[in-house]
């Protein structure tokens, strides 16, 4: 009989002799592995979701935002990035229009307000902007029409809304068209409802619940007449870098470097992703705590198992087993135990992710699987080595005389 096959089968036989105890001991690892794998699956899903959202924004876009959070080589996520934020105004809009590589410049002012219609009321993000937002962000009309360029200067009180908010207020998207809504006590006419862009509901922007109004109309209630950001579409992808430099130069005439950011969508995506991966790492570390608890459970049961089998250890030593044979026997048992927990935990997370996918695109990738297997074996070794050593170090004569 091959030595290793013998060691592993006897470890297996020993674990199966006490199924209830084996199962209860692995439970800690099952829960630990499942929580770590699930948190990672959730993080991966979230990342993919955010990327999807950015892709749907449109291409060749440059964003101008207050604060230096997204500035390349800036302070990133941290001190002073948002606190002393500036806001832009129409003067900036006009100076940015001089940028030669810009095809479209879309200003926007955002505000969360209560919208009332037919006795119902809902909170939504009111987006004061120009008519060019629609092609820039790939927004398509479902019912009615977009508002027009002329509506801006005329300060027309018209609104285009996302399908989700339209449904909430009017029951069905098509019923919203030509209806009156009231935003901050001002009455607007709904001229159009957009096609769904999907997403929302996970803390990310819920584009389907946005209400778009001409920015000059929005200024009626915005005394500062300020914009919170600009989106600029470059005339081509090769010109994005030039466009960024140009706009940066324009704005630096008026603002300090740390007061604003000029960023492409991929830079914003990188920043958002790095914040999420940091958050995810913290969560995974917390999940790791239950793995440690599981490991301690294994250590405990292995010490019990050593005590129960002192006589057996003595017999094996009398038959010529070396210290390392005994060490390996107990170590393979603890590794098998925690590996079993790892595999069960992985299966459990597959099951949960399968259900979770109805609501959220979480997924388990190969590296999470390998990590689960690797980490659970490592726990078996790390926490099993102390009891196994205590078994190996027993004196043969004392072990065989033990009652």
């Amino acid at each position: 009989m091959n030595y290793f096959i013998f060691i592993i089968t006897s470890a297996y036989v020993d674990l199966m002799r006490n199924k209830a105890r084996t199962f209860l001991t692995t439970l800690g690892i099952v829960i630990g592995v499942a929580s770590v794998v699930l948190l990672q699956a959730f993080g991966l899903g979230l990342k993919a979701y955010i990327k999807g959202q950015f892709d749907s924004l449109g291409t060749n876009l440059v964003f101008i935002l207050p604060g230096n959070m997204f500035r390349a080589g800036g302070s990133g996520f941290g001190a002073g990035s948002m606190g002393s934020a500036i806001s832009f105004d129409e003067k900036d809009l006009n100076s940015l229009k001089r940028a030669s590589d810009a095809e479209i410049i879309v200003p926007s002012t955002m505000k969360s307000s209560k919208i009332e219609a037919l006795g119902k009321s809902e909170y939504a993000t009111i987006y004061g902007t120009s008519e060019e937002i629609f092609p820039t962000r790939n927004l398509e009309i479902d019912k009615g029409t977009f508002f027009l360029k002329s509506d801006i200067n005329k300060r027309t009180k018209v609104a285009v809304m996302g399908p989700k908010i339209a449904e909430k207020l009017f029951g069905q998207a098509e019923f919203a068209v030509d209806q009156k809504i009231s935003i901050d006590k001002i009455t607007f006419k709904v001229v159009g409802v957009l096609k769904s862009k999907g997403g929302g509901g996970f803390g990310g922007p819920d584009f389907d619940s946005y209400v778009y109004i001409p920015y000059k109309t929005a200024f009626l209630v915005n005394n500062k007449k300020s914009f919170s950001s600009f989106v600029i579409k470059a005339i081509s992808s090769e010109r994005i870098t030039d466009l960024k430099n140009e706009t940066d130069k324009i704005l630096l005439k008026r603002y300090k470097e740390e007061d604003f950011s000029v960023a492409e969508s991929k830079e914003i995506l990188n920043t958002v992703e790095s914040i999420f991966s940091m958050l995810n790492m913290v969560l995974v570390a917390i999940g790791g705590v239950s793995l440690v608890v599981g490991g301690i459970g294994i250590m405990n049961i292995m010490y019990v198992s050593v005590t129960e089998r002192i006589r057996e250890i003595g017999i094996r030593r009398a038959m010529g087993a070396l210290e390392k044979d005994i060490l390996l026997q107990f170590l393979s048992e603890s590794v098998l135990l925690s590996l079993l927990g790892g595999v069960l935990g992985l299966l459990l997370s597959f099951l949960i992710v399968l259900i979770l996918r109805i609501f959220f695109p979480a997924y388990i990738d190969l590296s999470s699987m390998l990590m689960a297997i690797f980490v659970s074996s490592a726990i078996g070794v790390g926490f099993g080595v102390f009891p196994a050593r205590s078994a190996a170090k027993l004196l043969p004569i004392e072990a065989i005389r033990y009652e």
Binding site: E312, I315, G320, L322, E323, I397
Partner: protein, 223 residues
């Protein structure tokens, strides 16, 4: 083959109490000898046997096996010597109850580091067949009678073809009939196979089977 010179074994019971289990023991066992060690309970027979069988180390004194000083060997070397040089037979059988009979017999071969010149499974089966246990190979030891268990233990002691068999009260837990069978098997190992046998007992009738009797009393050898 084995030489024990000036061996003492002490147990520290507490701060000012040392128990002398063996005092100045000098014994030489020659190749192919059949020796018995006899003495009252607590006289130190098992302690001496464990030292001869390399399961225990003396507190002071020298043990040489084939002119090699055992105190110079490390734990691994002693374990390997125990594995292929010595076969133990205990009063309490000391079989592992979760292993089958044939697995118990094969156990020492698992721990051998030498290239085996035999197929352990086949040899284990032949030994068990020789002792009339071929129908029990897949049984578990706790399902066997005492006499059967001791025969399994003898088969296990023989699997590595040791030069020395140590039997500590091999008939102590058996009725007279199965005791007689076990004893004749052990006797044959010396008479027919020329294996060195040391048998530990407090029973003069058992001790008489050997060609030489060593008497031990209160940890000392009686002349």
């Amino acid at each position: 083959m084995i030489k024990i010179s000036h061996v003492n074994k002490e147990y520290v019971l507490d701060a000012d109490n040392i128990f002398h289990a063996l005092t100045d023991i000098n014994v030489e066992i020659k190749d192919k000898e059949f020796v018995s060690i006899i003495g009252q309970s607590g006289s130190g027979k098992s302690t001496l046997m464990h030292i001869i069988g390399l399961l225990d180390r003396p507190t002071t004194g020298k043990v040489t096996v084939n002119d090699q000083d055992v105190s110079k060997l490390n734990d691994d070397e002693i374990s390997l010597l125990r594995n292929d040089f010595v076969g133990f037979i205990f009063q309490q059988f000391n079989l592992i109850n979760k292993l089958t009979v044939i697995e118990n017999v094969m156990l020492p071969s698992i721990y051998s580091r030498k290239k085996l010149t035999f197929d352990p499974q086949q040899k284990a089966f032949e030994l068990l067949k020789r002792f009339g246990l071929e129908t029990k190979i897949k049984s578990y030891p706790n399902k066997l009678s005492g006499g059967q268990q001791q025969r399994v233990a003898i088969a296990r002691a023989l699997i590595m073809s040791p030069k020395l068999i140590l039997a500590d009260e091999p008939t102590g837990n058996l009725d007279s009939k199965s005791g007689e069978i076990v004893l004749s098997l052990i006797r044959d190992l010396n008479h027919k196979e020329k294996i060195t046998v040391i048998i530990v007992t407090h029973d003069m009738n058992v001790a008489k089977q050997a060609s030489r009797i060593i008497r031990i009393k209160d940890g000392k050898i009686e002349k």
